[in-house]
């Protein structure tokens, strides 16, 4: 629907670069499963098979008493043992010893490259002392990527496009790209930034309104917490009036909070826990922990922030009926 949206090769390269940037700081340590089920090599292949069946895993790392990684037993090893009729042998005789492992510091790009190169289903993560500290399967990698994608900063061309035509920015959904019919919103609240006392009142009203529509207390709580943080930010940071719009649907509740004020120069920095530019005056009132935007991310299922210095902030959040708890 949007114009100028065809992907040229150049665009794709740009996009890939941006994605790489977005994922650059993810390491094996962030992705790995830390509670690894292990066996010692004096156990039998049969026991390994049973453990894999019960825990629904496709490989068991073999460690000594000090968590030193010695090998791995995979489904393939089990099949070979069954075929060769030595399933009752100790693991020591049949485990794979020649292991490809990850270090906790490896970045996502390297991890994906290793997965492609070696084609194993899972890799043990081993620290510099040879101690097993975790395990990573492809599923875990996809999980980490999806988690990161929940938070999309529109830093690509679309964002520039949106910023240049400020009309569009305030008229389009940041998440779906469609025009938003603000007049069709189920809930509208005008944020008065001149009165710190009333900061949060709009979100409390939204909470009461949602209560008339659903019994899902978790959803109501998530929506009103995230909305509160956005509302308060307009009051204490923007220096401008603002609006809360909300649309309720059985499957998804959408909230959009916008202001026309000071804006955020560096959205990525503002998203960091603990980052705050709050004045001493508002800090005395209990604001300024730098937890507002992180709370919004935590309680919403999808969140997009578009802002630039001097151009206000538009923030959109989606909350699914069966979303995060």
């Amino acid at each position: 629907m949007r114009k100028g949206n065809t992907l040229t090769e150049r665009n794709v390269d740009d996009l890939l670069d941006k994605l790489r940037g977005l994922f650059a700081d993810i390491t094996a340590r962030d992705i790995m499963i830390k509670s690894v089920v292990t066996l010692t090599k004096d156990r039998t292949m049969w026991q390994a098979k049973e453990l894999m069946r019960i825990c629904k895993i496709s490989g068991v790392p073999i460690t000594d008493g000090n968590s030193q990684l010695e090998g791995i037993v995979s489904i393939e090893d089990i099949i070979v043992a069954l075929e060769g009729n030595h399933i009752t042998d100790p693991i020591e005789k049949h485990m794979t010893r020649n292991l490809v492992t990850f270090s906790p510091e490896m970045n996502l790009e390297t991890l994906i490259e290793r997965f492609n190169r070696y084609r194993y289903g899972r890799f043990p993560v081993v620290d510099s002392d040879g101690k097993l500290v975790g395990i990573i399967s492809k599923k875990d990698i996809i999980g980490a990527i999806l988690d990161k994608f929940r938070l999309i900063y529109v830093h690509d061309n679309r964002r520039r496009e949106i910023l240049e035509q400020s009309v569009d920015w305030f008229d389009k959904s940041l998440i779906s790209g469609d025009y938003v019919e603000k007049t069709s919103a189920d809930f509208v609240y005008h944020i008065d930034y001149t009165d710190v006392d009333t900061a949060g009142v709009g979100s409390a009203k939204l909470k009461s309104y949602l209560k008339t529509l659903t019994d899902d207390d978790t959803l109501i709580r998530r929506v009103s917490i995230a909305c509160y943080e956005a509302e308060v930010n307009v009051v204490i940071h923007s220096g401008s009036e603002g609006y809360i719009f909300a649309w309720y649907d059985e499957d998804v509740t959408r909230v959009r909070v916008e202001d026309y004020g000071r804006g955020i120069e560096n959205v990525e920095q503002a998203m960091k826990e603990g980052f705050s530019t709050a004045s001493d005056h508002v800090r005395e009132l209990g604001f300024g922990a730098g937890m507002g935007l992180p709370n919004m991310r935590r309680y919403s299922d999808k969140m997009v922030v578009v802002s630039e210095a001097g151009k206000g902030v538009v923030l959109e959040m989606h909350f699914y009926r069966n979303g995060r708890k």
Partner: protein, 111 residues
């Protein structure tokens, strides 16, 4: 636990003229509003040193039923009036936040 019982057993002053028959199942301690917002459980009693009106929006959104202002501090008049409208019970105590927390636990809350 009934708020009524907690207030009585812990010797906390009641500031608002609101009913005290609410059920309290948890407590949270915090002075940074967005920390409380992110972490306080519902149906809780909130221990703080913040007395400004903004605590009321926080309490009603996270579902804190009562706020205890500790360390001998006092709520502003406007906060009390607003609390009565919002239905959030305001309480005061001369004890420190920690001491109140200990008293609450001794009364059987949490743990």
């Amino acid at each position: 636990m009934k708020l009524n019982d907690l207030v009585e057993m812990c010797g906390i002053r009641v500031i608002t003229s609101l009913p005290l028959d609410t059920d309290i199942s948890n407590a949270y301690i915090g002075d940074l509003l967005s920390d409380v917002m992110g972490n306080a459980p519902a149906n809780s009693i909130w221990l703080t040193v913040q007395s400004h009106m903004n605590i009321l929006a926080v309490a009603s959104i996270v579902g804190a039923r009562a706020i205890v202002l500790c360390n001998g501090l006092h709520f502003e008049e406007s906060t009390v009036r607003k609390a009565e409208e919002t239905g959030i019970v305001l309480l005061e105590s001369d004890f420190t936040t920690f001491d109140i927390a200990v008293k609450l636990v001794k009364c059987g809350l949490g743990g």
